[in-house]
């Protein structure tokens, strides 16, 4: 009896009791579906994270005070513009910019349209090289803006839409009124960039503050501060970022006469940390899936044992006309594999659908890779073999005459 014939008759048997087949394979279905859903969403978000970090430039390094609380921001340890000027002298830096984040609730945009809170970031022109935004209209902040403490701002297209109700060239030169505890200031829009986070933000429509980028010197004036939030830079050689990071933190400790207060993290490290988190989550759910698969396998074994008992007479008849032990063995292993294989295929389908649904909810695209399908098929086949062998062996070793006498 060829393997093909075995498969054919196994299908016949398995489909003759659809409900039982479905219930038996439920554990496998859930296990495989979980694996597929998780890997598809995982692959999708991994791709997205990588893409995001790529767009930021992998060599990007962020220097900040280790504990960035408001109290620390005014302490002697706080980063200053002078720190930035000193760090600029270190070799191996391609671009460097101080950043002042006025992420403060009391900053409001008033005119021309009253909108919600603003997030104002003060930077130097190098920031453009570091973040490489796509400019839609106008220009970025330049050196003379910083020098003159000009009241100019670069906004993004989302902000333009919300503040002006439209987004085109004519906004360049228009004024926006910013209100802080210092009073109201009129800033001229000099450029509009593309919002790179538009996709994520659109989900939370009104919760994001409007983003504006202003010269660092103007930000100091707006908020009456001299300290900065952090310093971002890009290394000339991304492979060197580790040594550059330690050079920076050492220099800062030297300036401030303290130790271990500053961190310099490259985007690559952050990405690693992020991947580690998604990796842990994936591992956890894979663990659950593995348990479900084992339970599913035991379910298959259980039903195969029932099948063997139910079909004892059939086994006796087959043996009486010349079936060898290995023929019976193969017949039942194939049947178990068909069972788990069906579970695997249904699992892939359900997992695929769940992946898409979950991806939509989480705002990531789910990617079902060929590899994960192959893996699912291999796992479910392996489960069929592992858990099918024992019942099949039991069937194969039945004594022909005992089996024929079985009522």
């Amino acid at each position: 009896m060829s393997i093909f014939e075995n498969i054919k008759s196994a299908f016949k048997n398995v489909f003759s009791n659809k409900m039982r087949t479905f219930l038996t394979t439920l554990g496998i279905i859930i296990g495989i579906a979980a694996v597929i859903a998780i890997t598809s969403v995982g692959n999708g978000s991994q791709a997205q994270i990588t893409e995001q970090f790529d767009s930021l430039g992998v060599g990007r390094i962020t220097v900040s005070l280790r504990s960035n609380s408001p109290r620390n921001m005014v302490s002697a340890d706080a980063l200053t513009y002078q720190d930035y000027e000193k760090l600029r002298e270190i070799d191996g830096i391609k671009s460097i910019s101080p950043v002042y984040s006025g992420n403060n609730a009391s900053v409001k945009l008033l005119n021309p349209k009253e909108t919600n809170n603003a997030s104002i970031t003060g930077v130097t022109p190098d920031y453009e090289n570091i973040m490489s935004p796509t400019m839609l209209y106008g220009r970025y902040i330049n050196d003379s803006d910083v020098e003159a403490k000009s009241k100019v701002a670069v906004i993004n297209d989302t902000t333009a839409e919300k503040v002006f109700g439209y987004c085109n060239q004519s906004i360049i030169g228009e004024k926006i009124s910013i209100k802080t505890w210092q009073g109201s200031f009129k800033y001229t829009v000099i450029g509009i960039s593309e919002n790179s986070d538009a996709k994520t933000e659109s989900l939370y429509e009104n919760e994001y503050p409007e983003k504006m980028i202003v010269p660092i010197s103007s930000a100091f004036r707006l908020f009456n501060r001299k300290t900065i939030s952090n310093i971002v830079l890009v290394a000339e050689d991304a492979d060197n970022s580790e040594s550059l990071c330690s050079a920076i933190t050492n220099k800062l400790s030297e300036i401030h006469k303290n130790s271990d207060k500053y961190t310099a993290e490259s985007a690559a490290e952050q990405m690693d940390a992020m991947n580690e988190v998604t990796g842990t989550v994936t591992m956890l759910i894979s663990g659950v899936a593995a348990i479900s698969l084992i339970v599913g396998g035991i379910g298959v074994m259980n039903i195969m044992l029932v099948t063997v008992t139910e079909r004892t007479r059939e086994i006796g008849i087959r043996k009486s006309i010349g079936a060898k032990n290995k023929d019976i063995m193969l017949q039942f292993v194939v049947e178990a594999v068909i069972l788990t294989g069906i579970g695997g295929i249904l699992g892939v389908l359900f997992g695929w659908i769940f992946g898409i649904l979950a991806g939509n909810l989480m705002g990531v695209s789910s990617v079902v890779s060929i590899n994960s399908i192959i893996m699912a098929v291999m796992i479910s086949t392996a489960i069929g073999i592992v858990f099918g062998v024992y019942p099949a062996r039991k069937a194969a070793l039945l004594d022909p005459i005992e089996a024929l006498r079985y009522e």
Partner: protein, 239 residues
């Protein structure tokens, strides 16, 4: 001298049930030559089925010598016995023992599936076998769509299809009415005329009269062995 198909000597089969030992076969010796048609008779519990099962390589004797078509069966392991059952023996049971989910022709094809006959040839040989037992019209029917006599004919076709050295039948007409019994006996006689060696267990002395030789069992022993003098031919009776 024609070929010896079955040679058993001092064959024993003991069952132990708790403390008591049941001697189902208690030293049976028998020789069956090629072309014989032997009927085995005896009261219930005399060991007829036990011997048929041993002859059919379905059961292993406790002791004794057993040669089948020159092969020392006692020496064979599971796989060797399966091959003998497949190629050398055609077994017909009282309860037919067909697979209920398979059609008549699929049932007949099954022994060939286990002996590795190509699918196309299986089909051809199975339909020929069914034709021989007069069931060409019912090949696609499932066992539960056939009468008892028809089912037994399917079982005979299945037993024949691998051209075995010997046909063993344990009360093949036990579950059949007299008309079907005649038909089955007629088939056996014709097969025997064509050269098949047949050993058949029967309860009915009338049925035994259609065979060529009667062996009688009692308490696990063969107590008599005689040639049938005026053998009846089923085909003539049916006219």
């Amino acid at each position: 001298m024609s070929k010896v198909m079955i040679q058993i000597e001092n064959l024993k089969k003991y069952y132990s049930q708790g403390s008591i030992q049941v001697k189902a076969l208690d030293g049976v010796s028998l020789r069956v030559q090629e072309g014989e048609f032997v009927s085995i008779m005896g009261s219930s519990g005399s060991g007829k089925s036990t011997m048929m099962n041993v002859l059919g390589c379905l059961d292993k004797p406790t002791d004794g010598i057993f040669f089948l078509d020159g092969i020392d069966v006692a020496k064979l392991k599971d796989t060797g016995l399966a091959e003998i059952r497949n190629k050398k023996i055609g077994f017909v049971f009282q309860t037919f023992n067909l697979l209920p989910k398979l059609s008549a022709i699929e049932n007949v094809e099954l022994p060939m599936a286990y002996s590795g006959v190509p699918i196309k040839e299986r089909h051809k040989r199975a339909s020929e076998a069914l034709k021989r037992v007069g069931l060409s019209e019912r090949m696609k029917h499932k066992p539960n769509e056939l009468s008892g006599g028809q089912r037994q004919r399917v079982a005979i076709a299945r037993a024949l299809v691998n051209e075995p050295s010997i046909l063993l039948a344990d009360e093949p007409t036990g579950n059949l009415d007299s008309k079907s019994t005649f038909e089955i006996i007629d088939i056996f006689q014709k097969l025997n005329d064509e050269g098949a060696t047949i050993v058949m267990v029967t309860h009915e002395p009338d049925v035994a009269q259609y065979t060529k030789r009667i062996v009688t069992f009692k308490d696990g022993k063969a107590i008599s062995d005689e040639i049938v003098k005026n053998r009846i031919i089923a085909e003539e009776e049916m006219k």
